[in-house]
């Protein structure tokens, strides 16, 4: 009986992670320079979790995030990283205190993210889909 309860608990815990409904997103991914290759959600997750740190041309990737209290970051985190912002903060604590890496830079507004991406080689970030993206390139992803 105890094993059955444990099994039910595990299935209920894991199921929502597998059967994640596709939800419309209200952000766009922007980069500093044009990139032809289409990125997958997993690629973007690897970039923003710093598991992938070089573009295909070997140049360093320079991701930028919105501050943790931003609703856009919450949406980005849920859609791309499949984790809440709190869970991502725990992930970065793990990386920091194990001497692995530090989190991406953070900016307070779409304008600051745009400025960051526009002025830094290899930069990638996200802004609200309503924000004009002059001077940067919008990335296609699936």
């Amino acid at each position: 009986m105890n094993r059955l309860r444990l099994a039910v608990f595990l299935v209920l815990a894991i199921l929502p992670r597998i059967a994640r409904p596709d939800e419309p997103v209200t952000f766009v991914i922007i980069v500093n320079a044009a990139r032809d290759a289409e990125l997958t959600r997993q690629d973007l997750a690897n970039i923003f979790m710093k598991r992938m740190t070089r573009w295909s041309d070997k140049r360093p990737i320079n991701p930028v995030e919105r501050f943790a209290d931003s609703p856009l970051r919450a949406e980005f985190s849920r859609a791309i990283l499949h984790r809440s912002v709190d869970a991502m903060q725990a992930y970065w604590q793990q990386q920091i205190f194990s001497g692995r890496d530090i989190p991406p830079s953070e900016r307070r507004s779409d304008a600051e993210v745009l400025e960051y991406v526009r002025t830094r080689a290899g930069a990638i970030g996200y802004v609200s889909s309503a924000t004009p993206t002059e001077g940067v390139y919008v990335v296609r992803w699936k």
Binding site: A13, I14, P16, R54, D86, A87, F97, G99, R100, I102
Partner: protein, 351 residues
């Protein structure tokens, strides 16, 4: 002195939002620490004593810097009630995502939590499970030597992370008392092991948050430990599943020196009822191969409830039921009791 430390800790926590993780593009400073009160019904265990102990306090400072494009420097020091020590200090050169080389006093890559041994905001209980992370001669917080680390993506959804290292380990283990102490542990000693070669492999699965891994190392005891210099080795298996609400962890380890060995393991589950409230449970066991008495084993079951003020500050309350004498310490001039109950209350932070 205690008051000064309290003022310092409270000040740091109070300023956490304002100074959150002082970080520029090249340098970052982070802090973690905590305090705990522990009371037992007899033996001393973890932060607890029979009279109740308020003194378990620690504070650590971690710094990372990027003086050059491919070079990073990491360092961390910790202060407790009685000691100040360097947790790690090393340089890392990144060739690619698949290869990073490290040299210095590096974190010991073994199991799930060795590299974040003192960071309480990354686990549901105040202390890590002692059957694996306690003074059992399995794990050291750091290694003096060199290491390589990397990550590779295997297809669209699988990821493998790996570490390899060579150097010297100082492994804490329980020092057993003489007659009059009831045979229980009376303190900690260190097992110096050199020429250590080790590795860890962790596979992250397509199910977000689910990973499995294995770790192992082997080295020779330092000459002053034993003229025979037998090999000391350890192996471990790990499984972890983390979601926003659930954390499940299980580990098994087997340290071995010459012909003597033991094995320990635990299972831990925690669930966030809300973003603030979390409940947790853990069971762990440790058995020596050759000693089936109370001294040779440690069984512990624990229940806990935590209040997370934020992901960076948590207040924890837990009750622990321990059977065995392997990791408990008898009260001064007293006889160790075969069973110990610990009530633990504390707060931990990091930012």
């Amino acid at each position: 002195m205690k008051l000064t430390r309290w003022i310092l800790i409270i000040g740091i926590v109070a300023c956490a939002n304002a100074s959150f993780a002082q970080q520029s593009s090249k340098t970052a400073i982070h802090v973690f620490g905590g305090w705990a009160y522990g009371k037992t019904d007899g033996n001393g265990y973890l932060s607890g004593t029979k009279k109740g102990d308020y003194s378990a306090t620690s504070l650590s400072l971690a710094i990372s810097a990027a003086p050059a494009g491919h070079l990073r420097i990491f360092a961390s020091s910790q202060q407790t009630e009685s000691t100040t020590q360097i947790d790690y200090a090393f340089g890392e050169w990144t060739f690619s995502d698949a290869l990073r080389l490290r040299a210095g006093k590096i974190k010991h890559p073994f199991g799930i939590s060795t590299e974040v041994y003192d960071v309480g905001t990354l686990r549901p209980f105040f202390s890590l499970p002692q059957s694996v992370y306690g003074p059992v001669g399995t794990l050291a917080e750091s290694l003096n030597g060199v290491g390589a680390a990397g990550v590779r993506r295997l297809g669209p959804s699988w990821t493998v992370k790996y570490d390899a290292y060579f150097g010297a380990l100082s492994l804490p283990y329980a020092d057993f008392g003489e007659e009059g102490h009831g045979g229980a542990a009376t303190g900690e000693q260190v097992l110096d092991t050199k020429e250590v070669i080790g590795a860890r492999l962790v596979v992250e699965t397509p199910i977000d948050g689910l990973s499995f891994g294995a770790s192992a190392y082997s080295g020779k005891l330092a000459p002053d430990e034993s003229a025979m210099r037998p090999r000391h080795s350890a192996a471990g298996l790990q499984a972890e599943y983390l979601t926003d609400r659930v954390s499940l962890r299980a580990e098994w380890t087997r340290p071995r020196t010459g012909d003597e060995g033991e094995h320990g393991g635990y299972f831990e589950a925690a669930y966030h009822l809300t973003s603030h409230w979390q409940v947790a449970a853990r069971h762990e066991e440790l058995h020596e191969d050759a000693d089936h008495s109370l001294i040779g084993h440690h069984h512990e079951s624990a229940l806990g409830i935590n209040y997370w003020v934020s992901p960076h500050f948590v207040v924890k309350l837990s009750a622990h039921k321990v059977e065995g004498l392997h990791l408990v310490v008898p009260e001064t001039d007293g006889q160790a009791k075969p069973k110990t109950t610990l009530l633990n209350f504390g707060a931990q932070f990091s930012f």
